[in-house]
Structure formats: C-alpha cells, structure tokens
Amino acid sequence: MNTDPSKSISEKESYKRKKRFFTALDLMALPGIIYLIINNYIPMGGLFIAFKKIDFAKGIFASDWVGFQNFKFLFRSSDAAVILRNTLLYNLAFIVLNCVCGIAVGLFLNEIRNKLAKKFYQTAILLPQLISIIIVAYITYGFLASETGFVNNHILKAMGKAAVNFYSKPAYWPFFLIFIHIWKTIGYNSIIYFSSIISVDKSLYESAEIDGANRFQQITKITLPLIKPIAITLTLMACGRIFYSDFGLFYQVPMNSGPLYATTNTIDTYVYRALLQLNDIGMSSAAGFFQSIVGFCLIMIVNGIVRKISPENALY
C-alpha cells in the first residue's frame, strides 16, 4: 500500500519493528483491545441463548436446544410487516436527516463570527441532549394531551378549532417523532461535523477567494469534500444499526398508546411489550441476534461498495 518513495526509510524501520513480537503501537492499543474482549467478546459467546429454551433448574448451559423456535415470534404477528417497515423507514430517514442537518448546522455555526453568539447557539442546541427521554415524553404530553395539553387548550381553542386527540391519530406521529429525534440529537451531531469543519485549513479558503469563488462555492467545493470522510464513517456506522431503534423515542414518547402502533411500533418496542409478560431470555436474545445479523449483512454490502469507490473511507 505504501508506494510513496519518501516513505522508504520508514518502511525499513517498520520492517525492523515487525520482527519484534510486540511493537509500541501494539502496546498502546492493548488497553482498548482488552476492554473490548471483556466487555464485548466474552459476552458475545452468550448468543447461543437465542437457540435454547432456557430452563433455570437445568441452568443455561444444560437447557434444551430448540433451533429457530425463539425467532418465530418476530414474524408471527399480523403486524410483523408493519414493525419491520417502521423500523427500516425511520432509520433511513434518520440516517439521511442526521447527515444533512448535522452538516448544515455545523456549517452555519462555522459562519457565525460573534464569539458570544456562537457560544450561545452551541449551548442552546445541546440542551435537548441533556434531558432524559422520559422527561421529553412528559413534556410532549404536556403539549399534545387532549384534556390538558398546551396545543389543544391554548392554540387550537384560540383559533376556534376543535380539539385533536393526537395520541390516537397515527398519521401525525412520523412527523412528531422525526422532529423530536432531530431536536434531541442535532446538538451533538452538528458538533461532530463542526469540529471537522474547523479543522479545514483556512488558507484554502483564502486562496479560493482570491480565485474569485463566493462563499457558497467555497463551502461546496472545499469544505464538503473535506468532511466527506467523517460523513461516510457516521453513515456507515448508522447502517449497522439499521434494525435497532431508540426505545425511549418509540415507546415513551407516544406514551405507549395502542392506536399509534401503526406508525410507532418498531422491533424493539414490539419485543419489549411481548416479553413484558413472557420474560423469555431466549426470545429476547433471538430478537437481538436477528437485528445484529441484518445490520451485519447490510454493512458488509455497503462497506464493500464504499471500498470500491473510495477505499480510505471504508470502515475496515
């Protein structure tokens, strides 16, 4: 891979290093590796639970193998298609919007000259991140409730319109949920992009300006291409989570309202509600396994594509 002649010296040196059993870099990576083994890889062995019917008297290891039976419940419901569709569509929307809005806001923040204004904006848009999702659910309820909600009592009534029972009309909720998701995550999202944007060498802009480019062109031709790597990284990682959903957003915020299931029921909420009664760890493990496998396949495909187009941006 290193074909640059100016690197020949280091090549020899790193060749020498290869001979040693542990290089300094290996040592530096070690804490992280050890942690991942402890935290992720050892428990990963427990994925076999998805294929067992757990009997605590026998213990986890001696329980019976039941093949794919624990996976059936994911597809048995008359709502199975709805659940999968909801999870997928919301995540696609989130991936696209997170990227576009995050970059846009990061760019806007970069344009602000006034230091005080910049500080204020950054603090303000980060606020929603700090509030736990259950509280967000209560606040949303405070806005949207039928009897006591702000919107029904102060806005709709003032306009002379009838009260709307938001918690029984599924059509509104994709908008509500997407809005709330963006609202909550834009703070941090934009900061990630912002810290990449400010790392772009300022002299590039200056020379572009001398060449006659206006600000819009500077942004589209210089900034955006240079933050492409991080955008691709984030998008790729989001693909791996394509079948997961933010439980708080889809369960708490709609206040667990039955009529809204058509647009708020996702895999995670379905599994949670199902297992509230059954509490079968084999089944919950199967659900997690299913979500992981799909994400895994998707990433393999997408990363493969990215690797063909711009190899240095692929995840591995």
Binding site: G45, A57, F73, R76, E147, S168, N279, I281
Partner: protein, 518 residues
C-alpha cells in the same frame, strides 16, 4: 487484498471461539456457582442457615431495611435461620430477579408479582422449586394455615410451586365517587343505591350539569379499567355475567364463562360488546376523561386533584376507607361486581422458592416463620416500633411524632403481600375489625371451578406475543369508548385471529379437557 480479508475473518473466528471456550469455564452453570457464599453445610445445632429473600419495594421507602432485617433476625436466629432480605426498586424487580437466577446468584426466596415476574412466567422457565416435599417436615403449620384449594391452585403437575399470600382474596369491582360533590348536590343516598349502569348515568348527568369542567370517570393508568376483567356488567349489577381468564388475569386470550366447559373469545361475546357500547355512549356525552388511553396518573391521583369525579377499581372490602386515605378526601364506594376467587387471583401474589436455592427446606421453614409469627410479619410490614410507627390507644398504628409519609425510613405498608395478612396490625384509618371481617368472608368464599387450572403456553409462545401486541393496540381504546366501538371490535378480532388466537384457544381447550378429565 484477499489475504487480508481471509486473515481478518480467521482472526475473528479465532477470537469468537476463544470467547466461547472461555465462557463455559468462566461462567459456571447455575447449579454449581463458583465462589458464592458457602453456607452449604446443613444447620448443625447452633449453626445458622442463610436464607436470602428478594422483594419488590412497590415504590415504598425502605432506607432502614438493614435495621429491620436485624430485628427480624433476632427472632429468626432462634429457629436456626439467618435471613437476608433485599428490597429492589419495583421497576427493576422482574429484571433483577431474572438476572440473579440466570447468573446463579445466591437466592432462596422471592416474591411473585404480576408482570414479568408472574407465576406463569416463572414456572415457564422453571425458576420455581417444588416445595411439596418440604411442607410436611419443615412447615406443617404453614400447610395447615392456607386453604387447601389455594395450595391446589398453586400446584402444577403435582409440584407445589408457590406459597400464595394468605390475605383477603375476595375482591370486587367498585365505583369510587367524590363525596364532596355528592354532598354538594345531595346525591349521596342516590349514589349508595346504585344498582345498574343507568343509575350511574343518571348521577353523571346531574354532576356533569353542575360541573362541566370535570370528567365523570377515567381509566387511570391501567389500574382503573372501565370494563374490568372477569366481569361482564349486566343490565343491573345483580345480573352480571362472570368469566374466568383461565390462568393469567391480565391475559384474556381464551377465557370461559363460569360454569361452562368451552373456551371462548371474550372479545367476540355480545356482553363485552354491550359494555363497550355503553362506554362509547359515555365518551360521546363527554363523561370520559379524554386522555384515559395515555395518562399515567391513576384514578386516585386524578380524583385527588379534582380532574375527575369517579373511577372504577378492584378492591377488597375496605375499599371506602382505603380510597379515602389514598385520595386525600372523602369518597363513597359502591360495589358493582363480585367475582369468585379465580386461579389467576390466587397465583397473583406470593412467595416462590428459587430452583437454584441450595437449601429449599430452610427457605420453606423461613416462610412458615413469616406466615405464623406475628412479630416477624409486623416488623416486615411496618418497621420498628417507636421509630417507624407508634401504637395508639385503640390498637391501631400511626406515624410517630415528627415522622410523615415522606420522611419515614421504612414504610412497607403493602399488607396483602407480607405473607399472612391477618397477623398484621391495623394502620389508622381502616376499620378495627377489618381482619376479622375479611377472614369471615374469605373462609367461605367461592373458589372458581378452574382455579387449579394453569396452562402451559410453551407451544404457542409466538402466538401469545402476537396476540398481546394486538391486545395492546386495541383494548384500551375500545374499552374507553374513544372510537367507533363496533368497527374497532371487528378489526380487533380480525387481527386477533390473524395472530393465532385460534391456536391459543385450541391449546387451552385441549389442556382444559384434560384438566376436567374428559
């Protein structure tokens, strides 16, 4: 390039297999946990056997649990037992219990409560140990204490799995109304004479006319359902039709009319439809709290704060006094329905011995102590005398000087769950003869024909989860009357059948037939 991928994959597999190999050795099977407390030796004379009990705190303050535990041990030690009681926050209880059993941690006794830690769930994954062999030897008094019918209801395939709480199991469905408003309109007498839905509607009409800003009734949280389970309200409350849910009270898939032998679908019965249509009429008249489907506030909270006029609830005979103290204002409670004690009701709360316990005999012995020793029971329920409560002249208990509900260090007043309800002293506010009255009713209470029936759903778990999903989607909305009830009921049943209701009912019928000896 290819070599790199290959090596990456191989390295990944290697890592995985290393991890898999490490796991069995490291995480020893539940039966023989590594490095946990010894206490394996049977209690030689003078030696104490350690019994660990897990309880849900039901949202109550149990800061001083250690002190109370020590006081309990002063008594328990005399019986050769060293008891460790651990309270877990109610929201985490089922999860903690599951993790402790899965992880093979030291655990002997635990509470069984509705939800994910219910009898049905715990027996399905075999968390409960069979205590039948130990009852005669270690706990004869306990065996004699509880009605034989209840023991039978807790026995599955000859294995006794649960020690049910010995308390007032006769519950009825009550309508609780705000007394101040009734007095204001001079309706108390009429309210107490309620004998049918129309009577209630008449009262609502009058109250609503005087107080249009109030909702008449709400289905607060999930505890105040407008159409309770196990009852179909008739034209008058004396003509109610009863049904049994054949197992879990909350799970109504496949129920049965009391006294018959055929499993039915509750949601296709004309009685249920009629109940829901009544609700729709109320909703359209503006009587029903519009946020009933989503509110997390219970009926008690709503009434307390003047948002509603009345609510339905399941309660025992002391409903009026209990609700008066819970709502912080005087209420009138009228009983509108009564059910025989069903199997689901018997198995609702109790104590189970963990199947991973190392000394189930000691665990059962401890339970006998809890159920028969008044000092232990009162310690567990009320805490330490003088610190957490004081005894009044009439024998009732109340908070000591300077202590209130908010700062009392221990107030586990959940009387019906502390084992033997009848041993507990009365907290002020309740009738002083409550225990005797309850006992009288309970000793002769009718037990449902199907009480001993409890079904095994392992063959249809997928259908159970699918139908639960449909149930959650429609049930509350329909029973609150917030929609076109007829149309929704049709959709509801359509989806139920599509989600496997027929398989569930067939499975239940098969097991029921075997149970009835056909």
């Amino acid at each position: 390039m290819k070599k790199r991928i290959l090596s990456a994959v191989l390295a990944g597999i290697m890592t995985l297999s290393l991890a898999a190999c490490a796991a069995p050795g490291a995480a020893a099977p539940a039966a023989a946990p590594a490095g946990s407390d010894a206490a394996e030796a049977p209690a030689a004379s003078g030696e104490l056997v350690h019994v660990k009990q897990l309880m849900s705190n039901f949202g109550n303050n149990t800061d001083d649990a250690a002190e109370v535990n020590a006081a309990i041990n002063e008594i328990a030690n005399q019986y050769g037992l060293d008891v460790e009681i651990e309270f877990v926050s109610s929201d985490a209880y089922a999860q903690q219990l599951n993790l402790m059993i899965a992880g093979g941690e030291d655990l002997d006794v635990f509470m069984v409560t509705p939800g994910a830690s219910s009898f049905a769930t715990l027996s399905a994954n075999n968390s409960l140990a069979d205590i039948a062999p130990y009852l005669d030897t270690a706990a004869p008094d306990l065996k004699a204490l509880i009605r034989q019918e209840y023991w039978d209801a807790c026995t599955l395939d000859g294995r006794t799995l649960l020690v049910t709480t010995w308390d007032d199991k006769v519950t009825g469905n009550w309508l609780v109304m705000d007394k101040t408003i009734l007095d204001e309109l001079g309706l108390e007498e009429q309210a107490r004479a309620i004998a049918s839905y129309d009577d209630i509607t008449a009262i609502y009409e009058k109250v609503y006319a005087a107080h249009p800003e109030l909702s008449m009734v709400a289905a607060g949280g999930s505890s105040n359902a407008l159409t309770p389970s196990e009852i179909f309200f008739g034209d008058t409350f004396a003509e109610n039709t009863l049904y049994d849910t054949l197992g879990d009270q909350a799970y109504q898939m496949g129920a049965i009319y009391e006294g018959t032998e055929e499993v039915i679908n509750v949601f296709e019965t004309p009685e249920w439809k009629k109940n829901c249509e009544r609700m729709q009429a109320w909703y359209d008249a503006g009587y029903v709290y519009k946020d009933s489907v989503t509110t997390t506030d219970s009926g008690e909270t709503l009434l307390k704060n003047g948002a509603i006029f009345s609510f339905f609830t399941n309660a025992e005979m002391n409903c009026e006094t209990a609700k008066t103290s819970q709502c912080g204002k005087p209420v009138v409670a009228v009983k509108v329905g009564e059910v025989p004690v069903s199997g689901g009701r018997i198995r609702q709360f109790g104590y189970g011995v963990s199947s991973t316990s190392k000394h189930p005999d000691a665990a059962v012995k401890w339970l006998q102590l809890l159920y028969t020793n008044a000092d232990v029971a009162n310690l567990l329920a009320y805490g330490i005398e003088g610190k957490h409560y004081v005894t009044n002249e009439d024998g009732s208990l109340s908070y000591p000087e300077g202590v209130t509900m908010d700062n009392c260090g221990y107030q586990y007043h959940v009387a019906f769950v502390v084992g033997n309800y009848y041993l507990l002293k009365i907290w002020e506010g309740d009738s002083l003869t409550l225990r005797e009255d309850a006992k009288a009713v309970n000793e002769t209470a009718e037990v449902s024909k199907y009480a001993n029936f409890s079904w095994d759903n392992s063959a249809v778990t997928a259908e159970v989860t699918a139908t639960t999903n449909v149930y959650n989607k429609y049930y509350k909305n329909i029973t609150v009357g917030a929609c076109d009830v007829d149309a929704e009921i049709e959709k509801f049943n359509e989806e139920l059948h599509a989600s496997g209701l027929d398989e569930i009912m067939a499975a239940k019928q098969e097991q029921l037939n075997a149970f009835l000896g056909k």
